[in-house]
Structures are given as C-alpha cells and as structure tokens.
Symmetry: C2
Subunit: 260 residues, 2 copies
C-alpha cells in the first residue's frame, strides 16, 4: 500500500520503519519541522514535506501520528481537504490515527480508523513490531479488514477494539509503563544520593517483569507492605523525611498494597 | 562450609538451594512449622528441626532468614545460646541475617554479618543467583572476606555495603519491585473490568524494563504526564471516578512526573 505519514515523532518513526520493512511504500512524511520530516523520510525512502497543501491525494492510507488537539485542526484545514473528500463525503481516503486515548470519530472524514500499537516508543530505539499488540478499529467493515491485514503485516498480535475500550486499555498502559518507569526514576533518585549505581537494580527489575508472565501481579507481590511490616514501612518513611514528594508516594503506594 | 538455615521461607529456599548447588553443606533447616522445615530440608539434603534447642553448635555459619522482630528474640533465647557463645563473647559462631532493612547489629553475637541478595524471591520459583547483586557486611575483616567468598560462590555481583547504605538500597528496591509490581496489579484491575487479558501488557512491560538497561529512567519517560498532556490526564482521571484509590494514585504519579 501507498502510505502517507503525518507526524515524524517516536511512534511515526517506529511504525513507518516497520511498514516500510514489511514492503509498503511510504510516499510522504509530513512534519512542521523540516529536520524531523527529512530525518524520517530518509529512513523510509519517502518524500519529506512541511507544507500540508503539498500532500498527495493519491495514497491509499494516511496515518496521523500527531497530538490529539492537532488532529481536529488538520481535518478542517484547507490543505488537507483533497484527502478528506468533498464535505468529508464519499470520495474520502482512509485516514487513521494511532493514539490510545483518542476516539476514532475525532477524524471527521467518511473513511476513518485507528491503528494503535501499544508500546513505549523512542526515535532513538527502533524496535521489532512482531510481538507488539496492535489494536484496530475502522468506520466500515471493509476498512476494518484492510487495517487488520495491514496490522498483521507488522505484528502477530492484532485485536479489534472499540474506542471506548481502547481508552481503558490506554489508561491501564499508563500504569504499566509510565508509572512503572517513574518508580524506576524515583529509585534512581534515592540511589544516586548514596552513590549506588542504578545498574544494581536491573536484575530485580527484570525478575519483577518476568514473574508476571506466569503469575498474576497481585499474587506475585512481595515486600514490606504486603507483609504488613509496619516497622520497615515506618523506617522507610522516616528515611524520606527530607523528600516529601517521595515520602507521599511511598505512603500512598504502601497503603494501596495493604488494602489490595 | 557447613551451614544452618534459620527460616524456610521464600528467601531461605532460594538461598539455601543456591549454596547447596555451589557445593556447600546445609546441615540443618529450622522452622517453627514442621511442614516448612521438612519441605526445604528435603530440597537441600538437610536435617529439618522445629525445636531451636536441637540446633547444632558445630556449623561454620548460621543464616537467619526470619522476620526483623524474630531475630532479637532468637538471639536472646536459651536454645540458641550455644551458638551465640558465652555472654555473646569470643566463642560465638558467625551468625548472619539476610534482610535489606535491618542493621547488622540487631544480631548481638560477637561474630555477626549480613548477606543481602537483592531480589524478589518466591518459594515456587527457584532462580539462578549468578546475576543477583549480593551485598555483604561483617563485624570483622576476616568474616567480611569469608562472606565475600561465600557470596562469590553463588553470584558474580558482590558488593560490600554498610548497614546505613543498605537501608537506602532496600528503600530504592521497594520502588523498583514492590511499587512497580503494584502498578502492574492496578493495571490488571482496570483491564479485567473490561475483559481485556493482562497478557496484552507483557510486551510493553518487557520493553519498559529493557529500556532502562541502556537509558536512564528519567530520560526514558514517555506518555501523557511527561508531555504535559492535560487533556489525556483529565480524561483518564474521569475514567477512574468510580475508583478513588486508583484515581488518587494516578493523580499523584502524574503530578510527580510533571514536576520531575
């Protein structure tokens, strides 16, 4: 398929590289920033553009990898009207976004959809899509089939999911990735104050992540809170007296584990 | 070396199995519960005991894998006096504990130490010690050398660390393991309410854990909070209206990421 990418960030980079590797043609990469458009276009043999009116109307699918708020203004922009179709009507092209927390209908064209690869992406780290769960949705059955096929070209784990359920999925993902990563960062903060390298934590981090492949997280819990060891919890809270932010998080997480 | 284990829980099981495999002799396993003593003794070819007065005074090292509070009462018990030495004096055996958050000096014998393997252990899951960081401390240089040698028999990552620093290390480990695991559990709670299997999160969990092997956690952060995307954060908080516990955690973690 001939694909246009709108956006050149972390997700756009990883997704376009995966689709390009799978044999699809990335026709154009649009970014407001010339350097970003050029950098990604180079990776996937595409044409970089920074003016939305230069967008081709001949691609099969337009993949939006841009912020929530930007989608609405893009859909109503003059330059994008050839893609959207007359009065957003019959002649529209398939336009999809890639965000977990945005409903499909934020795209106002007739043919619209979502392809949400649930992963934490960085531009600097191109990762293999094979095991990444991809959640798809489209405004008509033909486009659902088309997106499903496209998703299977890059991943073995493809699911159909409504916008309403995808919102909860994304919320759950924030707990499993962003909040988990923040716990790592807070740990790093404590260690660096005592000149202990963060690398000593890696075997523990790996084991905790590996354990939940076979044991439900609640069953896998260890440590002072689940043992209701108020002595250790009190000692830890005292160590954090000079750091109210960490102390508050420690207190709340421990109480939540105790009450779980 | 001839080793006696006091305790037969998650840590005692994993540590005694590792030492047994490394060629050391586990002489006795003590537990208040007969079934626990028997189960672990069987794994490591040891003699199970449930009466502390049956403990041999002839072992080289006594490893305490019991609760904080239990250590003190053990050290002052009649049955343990042959091990502790007269008036806890010169003739004492080397007695060590294995806890992150307890100072070495909670053991009142002359020869005392700590061997803290920093990992989340389960009885049901015997894990390889090679990569587990082991932190050691002893009351005299000879015993420090002896513990270091013993630790290197099971692990490639051995560090000398004072009781004071070990307390901060353990605190940091609670963030990296227990709080991380709790984030997984909260995620599971949200998913199960929408009939989405927790297994869809595993690639994300693995990637987030893998990423911090090469990128500092703070630099690796993605998601709505680090982007200051108040729209998505507000939407997520609204989804959690019926679950104040999760809503409060979401709010606090997001604010902490934003202020980081």
């Amino acid at each position: 398929m001939n694909i246009v990418f709108i956006g050149a960030g972390n997700l756009a980079t990883n997704l376009s590289v995966a689709l390009h590797k799978a044999g699809h043609t990335i026709v154009q990469v649009y970014s407001r920033t010339d350097a970003s458009a050029q950098a990604l276009a180079k990776l996937v043999d595409a044409c970089p553009i920074t003016d939305i009116s230069q967008i081709t109307a001949d691609a099969d699918i337009y993949i939006l990898c841009i912020a929530d708020s930007a989608i609405h203004s893009l859909c109503s922009s003059e330059g994008f009207s050839s893609v959207m179709g007359q009065n957003h009507g019959e002649s529209s092209k398939l336009i999809i976004h890639t965000a977990g927390s945005i409903p499909m209908d934020v795209i106002t064209s007739k043919r619209r959809g979502v392809l949400y690869p649930m992963q934490s992406f960085s531009k600097q780290r191109i990762i293999d899509f094979t095991n990444i769960p991809v959640f798809i949705e489209a405004s008509n059955p033909q486009d659902t089939d088309l997106l499903e096929k496209l998703a299977y070209d890059i991943s073995d784990n493809v699911y159909r999911l409504s916008s309403a359920d995808r919102l909860y999925l994304h919320l759950a993902a924030v707990f499993c990735s962003n909040f988990v990563n923040h716990c790592y960062a807070l740990s790093d903060e404590i260690l660096s104050q005592h000149n202990i390298p963060f690398s000593v934590m890696l075997p523990l981090i790996d084991e905790v992540a590996t354990k939940v492949h076979t044991v439900a997280p609640k069953e896998a819990m260890t440590g002072p809170a689940v043992r209701h060891d108020m002595g250790v919890i009190g000692k830890h809270l005292q160590l954090l007296t000079d750091n109210p932010r960490l102390q508050q998080i420690y207190d709340m997480m421990s109480k939540s584990i105790i009450n779980d």
